[in-house]
Amino acid sequence: MFVSRAEFLKFIYDVKKYRFNYAMGLISTLIFLIGLYWGVGEINKGSGGATLFVGLILWIFASDAISDASDHLFEERYYGTIEQLSITKYSLLSIFMARFLAVFVFSLLEIVFLGLPLYFIFSPDLGVFFSNFRFTFISIIVTISLIITLYGFGLFLAAIGLKLKKVGALSGIIRYLILFFSGIIIPYDSMPYFLKIISSILPMGIGIRALSGLEKGIVYTHLVLFCALYSLLILFAGIILFRMGIRHVKKTGEYSAY
């Protein structure tokens, strides 16, 4: 696929150019995660730490995935390349999807870099997710669903950002909502009623509850199904809204405005 080659080429040279910044970013994230894991692990002594480990790893994904589409859209408009991309042999949406794939592969490498030290330092009991085929299958489904949700939500935000340019700044708030209110840091059962409502709305909250259920040996089938459906719904809505957004700004003449 030429479009994937194009995006990987661009991404590799981008990383090459800013390798020092990327390396420093990774090291600072690692320090943050180690501190957070240690602190939260101390509070929740007795739990195997598997959900916390997976949750934090997913949160790293979330940070990139949610803001990715908005950031790229802003960049393309700033450089005046959005109009050039729009008349190539691929639609803008296909180009963005290929770009997500490139970022996703890079994020996987990031996770290996961040996850390995975290695993060796704290030795979370990940065996619970691999104790039987059913648990492994469910944890994979939940993880994939959450990743799809994050990218779908990113598209959703980018679509709104086409018209309301400052929406991209919201991604920071969403990132911390996910970290603190989805059950990664504060277990769902310990949350006050109001936070439980927020957690129940957040797809990440639902997924984390399903994963922490596995850690306790319980399969919350309804949460797993809900998580999978929710992810597809958000991705679908994100794509539709993105296409509508592009059409709208082409109509109003704001397509390349930044």
């Binding site: 080429l9 150019k17 109009e83 729009s86 008349i87 042999k89």
Partner: protein
Amino acid sequence: MKRFVGSSNSLLSIKNITKVYRTKNQEIVANRNITFDVKKGEILGILGPNGAGKTTLIKQIATLLLPDEGDILFQGKSILSHPDCFLGKFSFLMEGARSMYEYLSARVNLLYFAYLYKIPEKVARKRIDELMEMFGLTEFLEEYVMNYSTGMLKKLNIVRCLLTEPEVVFLDEPLSGLDVIASEELINLIQSLVRKRNITFLIASHRMDFVEKITDRVIWLKDGEIVKMGETENIKTSVENFEYQVYIKKGKNTIKLLEEMGILYEVLKGGVLRCNISLKQKEQLKQLLNNEDIISLEKRERDFESVFKEVYG
């Protein structure tokens, strides 16, 4: 929205395009009822003063803007109802936009766009080398685009446009930022591309000499509407092919008289004034001959710029 059927020998048919920009307080009509056809291999110039709607028009044809009314047909198919039928067939050179990723080298930028036009790497690399050499940029191929000067960036963008071998190339003010030699090279290149590959060009420009030299046909826009359209040569003759160029020794009341008669003048060295008077302004010419000290009077063929001034007042 109305749909139209295009004529079979046109590559592009623009049918009753109207575009209105709406803000909170006002509506600006950028294009109104614009209709014309473009043949394959044609070089069409779009002329007009600032704000005439040139860029809006070519952006709509390139589908970067959606018209409020009308339709655009490419090879007989509506671009608006079949947006996929034109993908990869157009190239656009924007005025003022960087249109490149500054943090990447020229080669990576060009290769990136080549992939998006599904050009295999080997072919793309060969074309990149050829085009960069043609524009004298070979030694800057590995340079980051952020280090390019305005003129170099313009050339690089032209390379990007031509690299993909599109069917239609839209050029918005292609000569701005280019030196005389590069401008000449671009003119030759466009003409050779039309000859060899039958590529169609739509060029919006203020440069009359350039448009006059290169285009087969021109469209003159004023306040979003077509005021004149026709073959470049015929447009000149349809207005008036000749004019008087008069050199006058500046007298006490010369400037006042010229201003009263509405004749534009230029002050030259040694107290000499130069003005162009159309054949229609016979009375004014008589008045000048009677009252002023005329150094020379010459009947000459008008250039495009002079015609432009007359059309736009």
